[in-house]
């Protein structure tokens, strides 16, 4: 999902919340909105949580291109 699409999804989610908060929908539309909202919030969160939280460092390999390896941060004190 691109940032643009994500922005769209966020906007739609917030619009749904506002509509539902007004509370003047018929039951089936309210249910559909609620479900759409829950789905959107899941998609948005998933998008934001996608990365693995890896910390890597580029190391020069012998006669080759640099390669990413896990960064050992023992010297990084809390």
């Amino acid at each position: 999902m691109s940032e643009l699409k994500f922005e769209g999804a966020m906007a739609r989610l917030e619009e749904i919340v506002k509509t539902l908060e007004k509370g003047d929908l018929p039951l089936d539309r309210a249910m559909a909105s609620f479900e759409e909202g829950v789905t959107l919030s899941k998609i948005c969160l998933k998008h934001l949580e996608e990365a693995d939280r890896k910390v890597e460092i580029l190391i020069q390999s012998q006669n080759g291109p640099k390669k990413a390896e896990p960064f050992q941060a023992q010297d990084i004190q809390e």
Partner: protein, 450 residues
């Protein structure tokens, strides 16, 4: 002495003349020289001109900075400062002292860097590299952050600490470079290009911790500025402390006052967005619950307004009693009529002994009465069932709380309209039954109307 006077044709100068001659010769030979030395005997009297002596280990020379020249110098000369100067030599005739009139002054070392800084800044500004139109937006929630700095410096430690503490879902790729010394600038420039080649990196942070102007110098080099300007990935420059300003800061898409601030900046939005989604989600659930509760309340109201089933049944019983009463009357009346006819017949048939026929007739009357009573009972049962159906239908419209008690909402697929009648579906249609804790999707196998 004779020798002296024997050169009578020789010009004999007065001191004034001699000094004037020396002065003009000196000014002719040294109209502009560069000299470096340490400042001493610095004094600035009322006149505003600045008098000083430039010296090194072996010698010294008097120097003067006129007020007009002094105005154009961005710094104030101080005692002991090492200066690089350009000036013209002259002689102060009244004393016969030669001196250098300074026309341009730079503190040596740090000052030369400053000059280079100013010159490069001006050059790049003219090229338009600092224009806001060249600034790329920093992504709202970068997921892969490239960091170009020393892998052992304070900057990487600070940045990783902040990112670790906030724990956002970001990947970090460090491209290790020396951040000071002659190798630093080309290494940083190369690293920026490498990060662009690797791809998939959303934002770059280049920087280092605090240090002297010399320490930070790599970030003032044109080669680094050019790499930043050419980077397709947005670059955040985070060099030194808040007060340190580098060329990188000007060219970068964003300047962070410190490496820590840069780290905060790239993860802040990320966390804010996650918070915003969670907030939306809880508002969504709250609103929906409120909506359902409101609907439930409405249903309760409607239920109250409906006659209670007991009353309905009572009504039906009354109706039934009424019917039975009327039936009895009718039957009685009918019986009375038949009796008349019977009596008539009896009268007619008294002689023919019609007792058998009379018995049959009586049986038929009883049978008719039975059938009628049965039919009325059946009608009551039907009405009763109708009321039950109505009530259970009312419940099944209820929200989650009701679903929990074992009721369900059935929706037609794929339209998802709520099913209110068996006539709305056909055999083979897909339906979705919503229960308190989930959904069941099913196919209609039979439709029983009624």
């Amino acid at each position: 002495m004779d020798d002296l006077f024997s050169f009578s044709e020789k010009k004999i100068y007065t001191v004034t003349e001699l000094n004037a001659l020396i002065r003009s010769e000196m000014e002719r030979i040294f109209p502009s020289v560069w000299v470096e030395g340490e400042v001493s005997n610095l004094r600035t009297p009322q006149s505003g001109h600045c008098y000083l002596t430039l010296k090194d280990n072996g010698a010294q020379i008097k120097a003067i900075l006129f007020k007009s020249t002094l105005k154009g110098i961005k710094f104030a000369p101080t005692e002991g400062q090492h200066l690089l100067c350009r000036g013209r030599l002259t002689v102060y005739e009244p004393r016969g002292e030669y001196q250098i009139v300074l026309e341009a002054v730079e503190p040596k070392g740090i000052g030369a860097l400053q000059l280079a800084f100013d010159q490069l800044k001006e050059k790049l500004r003219l090229k338009g590299w600092f224009d806001p139109s060249h600034k790329k937006p920093i992504p709202l929630f970068p997921r892969r952050i490239g960091i170009i700095t020393s892998p052992t410096g304070a900057a990487i430690r600070d940045m990783l600490q902040i990112i670790k503490r906030r724990h956002p879902a970001v990947d970090i790729l460090i491209n290790p470079v020396p951040v000071q010394g002659d190798e630093a600038a080309p290494a940083i420039a190369r690293a920026i290009a490498e990060m662009n080649e690797i791809g998939g990196i959303d934002v770059l942070i280049i920087g280092r911790g605090g240090g002297s102007l010399e320490d930070l110098w790599a970030f003032n080099e044109e080669i680094v500025a050019e790499a930043i300007f050419k980077s397709d990935i947005p670059v955040i420059s985070a060099v030194g402390h808040e007060t340190d300003v580098t060329i990188s800061d000007f060219v970068a898409d964003l300047r962070a006052p410190t490496p820590s601030a840069a780290a905060e900046l790239v993860v802040k939005n990320h966390l804010e967005l996650i918070e915003r989604i969670h907030l939306s989600k809880s508002r969504l659930i709250h609103a929906y619950q409120k909506f359902l509760n409101g609907m439930f309340k409405d249903l309760e109201g409607l239920k109250k307004r409906l006659s209670s089933p007991g009353r309905l049944i009572e009504n039906h019983f009354q109706k039934c009693d009424d019917l039975i009463g009327r039936l009895t009357v009718a039957v009685t009346r009918n019986a009375a009529g038949r009796r008349k006819a019977f009596e008539h017949l009896l009268k007619n048939l008294e002689t023919q002994n019609p007792s058998q026929k009379f018995i049959r007739l009586k049986e038929e009357v009883l049978r008719l009465f039975d059938r009628l009573a049965k039919q009325v009972r059946h009608e009551i049962a039907l009405k009763h069932q109708e009321v039950e159906t109505l009530l259970s239908g009312l419940h099944s419209l209820g929200p989650v709380e009701i679903l929990k008690r074992g009721y369900s909402i059935t929706r037609k697929l794929p339209g998802q309209s709520i099913l209110k009648s068996s006539r709305e579906v056909l055999k083979g249609d897909g339906i979705e039954i919503i229960l308190a804790d989930g959904k069941v999707r099913a196919k209609v196998t039979e439709i029983v109307e009624g």
